[in-house]
Amino acid sequence: MPQTTPFHDLLTPYNETGIWKHWSGYLVAPRYQFSTTAEYYAIRDSVSVLDTSPLFKYRITGVDALRFLQAVMVRDIAQCPVGTAQYTCWCDPDGFVLQDGVIMRVAENEFWLSAAEPSLRYFRATATALAMQGVGIQDITGDYGILAVQGPHAHSVLAQLTEAVDSMAYFELAETAIDGCPVLVSRTGYTGDLGYELWIRADQAQQVWQCLIDAGKDFNLIPVGLEALKMARVEAGLLLLGVDFESSRFAWVDAQRETPIELGWRWMLRKLEDDPRDFIGRAAIEKQINERSNRWTTVGLSIDWYDYERVHLEAGIMPPKHDLYCESTKSIYRRGDKEWDYAGYATSFLFSSILKKPIAIAKLPNDLAKPGTEVDLEISIIHKPANVLATVQRMPFFNPARKTEQPTQPTQSTGRISS
């Protein structure tokens, strides 16, 4: 039997489609309305609420908590002051990524972590192996529900419920209360937009939910499903485990594994030379950096709109665009004299409604990874392969200033209005 999140019964009336899918064994809605794009625009133009409760949640505490995370995580958690959060990843000893996730430092020696896959036993076993007795790792997955409130009006809505959001900078947190219920708020999200995530005690889910819905009524707050979220995250250049990379833990061969460098997370290791930590996988990653031996670089691809139109129109069909999001591998070829000269692959493909063109997240060898490089992306036109021109570009594809700016109330969303 699939599990349900603390918000399931509250969300059920919103699900016009009646469709539920499974996420880590929990029921979640791919979409609530019949139009994914309409939900997507709640994220980009008004405000959305998304139930991300199925994430695994861990509380890491104790005198060794900091040392433990320094040893496990690729980024140095010591650089994350109390009251802030850090996006990071952790690797196996060969430098291959196990998972990515967000760690919130709620106190000097207390960290809350959300992760896509179960990691309790892994963390505990690692602590033991590192002989760190002063760290406790608790699974608090069932104790909390998480709501992501994302969109240009996220602040307008939450500011009605707690003052804590007023002065909160990007990746900051606050322990606050909504209607008397303790809530941990972080200015984080998976959409690349202005947004907050709320950790709410499971037994108080209903109370906080009702406050949120009431506060959102005048800003078109709607629940959105995973499909809209995934569209937004591609534009934000955020990778998805199981789509853009696999956990090394369950891979069969190294070809399925990737290092942080190969996933485009070189920025996480920006100050590695000044960082004395011996975190798991460091030696292998460092070697890869020094030898430039990474097999791939993860890049953004901007698909040429004219070419995309042309190949479809020549076949006599309308180019598919609306609600188009695809997680299956697409091959990429080097442009040159040789035909079908395989070079790499795209993992996520999206027709970005706000950018009005198709985009993709792709893996390319180093010599093709420079922004501006042109490659051919293979798509299928009436069951036949066809190449379209694509250009390497830096991610994120879409990066509005409001994501990190201090919001004013009420938050104005994109677009200026004539007077």
């Binding site: 019949f34 133009d45 008004s46 800003f219 309308m318 665009k321 063109k357 677009g415 209005i417 007077s419």
Partner: protein, 538 residues
């Protein structure tokens, strides 16, 4: 730049087509000036904050026909283009009946089945056939049309190519296209569908903005025209631009300025200046004279105004060929549409769907049957505004919260029929009567509507003409009837954006492809200007 009087190109009129045209010219490196008579650009695509926090889409209110290549060519996304999908079409009927169509075709199937099981299926066939017709027309919509009167071998060859293209279309597409050009929307719909409510909903696209009823033969083409657009590749779908259509023209203005173009507002043009044509030399444009007598010179002047203004007012018609003058004189404007826009304290309530704001996330059509629409049209023919008007309503604030203060709403109502020429009155006397009639009509379908109204704006055809400058208030800058479309827009032989005066071009909605916030005329006119600049054979 301040006292600059010399430009490579001057575009008269800062509506969407003027701005599109100017942006293409600027992109090609021409020093381009846009002259706008009003204090703001946008023409009939503007958003005005009439009362604080409420953004009124004074005239046009939705996007679909905008040619997608313009978005790319002018990099409009970078300048703030955001088009929100309109997801639902709500069609109230009589006695609490309604049809609500949305983005899911299977759900629509069942919704239509409530009225007719056969219609539910037929609707799909009809929609697909229309999509194929539109798809077939795409290359014609997006190209400079051939010249049907010229005897130049190149022009003759283009006409031959056009006929070959049409002959090469699939039989069913060709037959359907024939129906659209010859038959009324009502006749076509009768052939496919039986539900009056569904037919009345669809036929709204066939009458909108035009002096036609459901069974007027011109309504077929008007319907087809309104299906030519798309939303992210979905044919015939519509969207709201962020901040209304004024938000869109502001995007165009920024794109134009970022390409080095200059906009001058409060700069109405009195005259286009040109040399005398004599002794075998045609006249050549030299510039424009503003209403304040300032003269500006440019070897290229483009009029984004409607054909009447382009040919009969900006230049002396005596300097033009008689057949062109005659064609423009006969060109039908006869505006029949008005706007009534409301600031509302809450969302209108439809009994049976109480409190549902989602029904307003697209078009809401008041016009529950062919009979209702025919009756409304009969009033128009009698020279009065419809006592029971057809309304096309949009509450953009249901998807775009920045259109109104929190919890409040803004409602745009397109109103028909409201003939420009009233038989027994005038619009200055009838303006508020029209507002009252629209409000009473809405009260009928949404009881309690009147209590929600905080502010009302009534825009009659006369207001459209006065404010925007569209002759007789025709929103398309001239009717979308076969005799004034494609080869004939605005006149046979003068459908390629040129005028008899060298260097003087036209790029308004009165040229191919036509009205609506399309941008096609602006883009294609620019293409023609580039063609003419290129040396022969180059």
């Amino acid at each position: 730049m301040k006292n600059e009087t010399n430009y490579d190109a001057i575009v008269i009129g800062g509506g969407h087509n003027g701005l599109v045209n100017a942006a293409y010219l600027a992109k090609a490196g021409l020093k381009t000036l846009v002259l706008e008579q009003r204090p703001l650009v946008g023409g009939a695509a503007i958003t005005e904050e009439l009362i604080p926090g409420y953004k009124f889409t004074t005239f046009s209110y939705a996007l679909s026909l905008l040619r997608p290549d313009i978005v790319q060519d002018l990099n409009l996304v970078a300048h703030g283009l955001v088009v929100l999908p309109m997801t639902n079409v709500f069609q109230p009927g009589f006695d609490g009946e309604y049809m609500l169509l949305g983005p899911d075709s299977d759900v629509n199937f069942h919704e239509i089945s409530r009225f007719s099981a056969e219609d539910a299926e037929s609707y799909r066939d009809l929609s697909h056939l229309i999509n194929r017709v539109c798809h077939a027309l795409k290359p014609l919509v997006d190209a400079i049309p051939p010249n049907s009167v010229s005897q130049d071998p190149a022009d003759l060859a283009e006409m031959v190519a056009l006929n070959q293209y049409m002959d090469g279309l699939p039989e069913d597409v060709r037959a359907m296209l024939g129906k659209f050009t010859r038959c009324s929307a009502g006749e076509i719909l009768d052939e496919y569908l039986e539900s009056d409510l569904l037919k009345a909903q669809i036929v709204s696209s066939g009458i909108i903005g035009s002096k036609v009823g459901p069974y007027s033969k011109e309504s077929g083409l008007v319907w087809l025209f309104h299906k030519l657009g798309e939303y992210d590749g979905v044919q015939g779908e519509w969207g709201f631009h962020k901040g209304g259509n004024g938000g869109f023209t502001q995007v165009l203005a920024r794109a134009f300025e970022s390409l080095g173009g200059t906009i001058r507002t409060d700069a109405g043009v009195d005259r286009v200046l040109y040399t005398d044509g004599n002794e075998g030399n045609g006249s050549e444009v030299t510039g424009v004279r503003l209403k304040d007598s300032t003269e500006l010179s440019a070897p290229i002047v483009v009029s984004a105004l409607d054909p009447r203004r382009t040919f009969m007012q900006l230049v002396n018609p005596d300097d033009l060929p008689a057949d062109l003058v005659q064609a423009i004189t006969e060109f039908k404007f006869q505006g029949t549409a008005s706007k009534v826009n409301f600031a509302l304290s809450g969302i209108p309530n439809f009994p049976g769907l109480d409190g549902r704001s989602d029904i307003f996330t697209g078009f809401t059509n008041i016009g529950p049957s062919f009979d209702y629409l025919e009756e409304a049209f009969a009033d128009c023919l009698a020279g009065r505004f419809s006592r029971k008007p057809f309304l096309d309503c949009c509450v953009q604030s249901t998807v775009d919260p920045d259109m109104s203060p929190p919890g409040k709403h803004i409602m745009s109502c397109f109103v028909m029929y409201t003939p420009y020429q009233l038989a027994d009155s005038d619009w200055d006397s009838e303006r508020e009567n029209l507002g009252d009639t629209v409000q009473a009509t809405l009260e009928e379908f949404f009881p309690g509507f009147g209590q929600l109204v905080e502010h009302r704006e009534v825009v009659t055809p006369l207001d459209i003409e006065r404010v925007v400058g569209l002759s007789e208030g025709n929103i398309f800058a001239g009717e979308l009837f076969s005799p004034q479309m494609f080869l004939n827009r605005p006149a046979p032989g003068w459908n390629q954006y040129r005028t008899p005066i060298g260097g003087y071009y036209q790029c308004g909605s009165g040229t191919h492809p036509g009205g609506g916030v399309m941008g096609g005329p602006g883009k294609l006119a620019a293409q023609q200007i580039f063609n003419d600049q290129r040396p022969e054979g180059g």
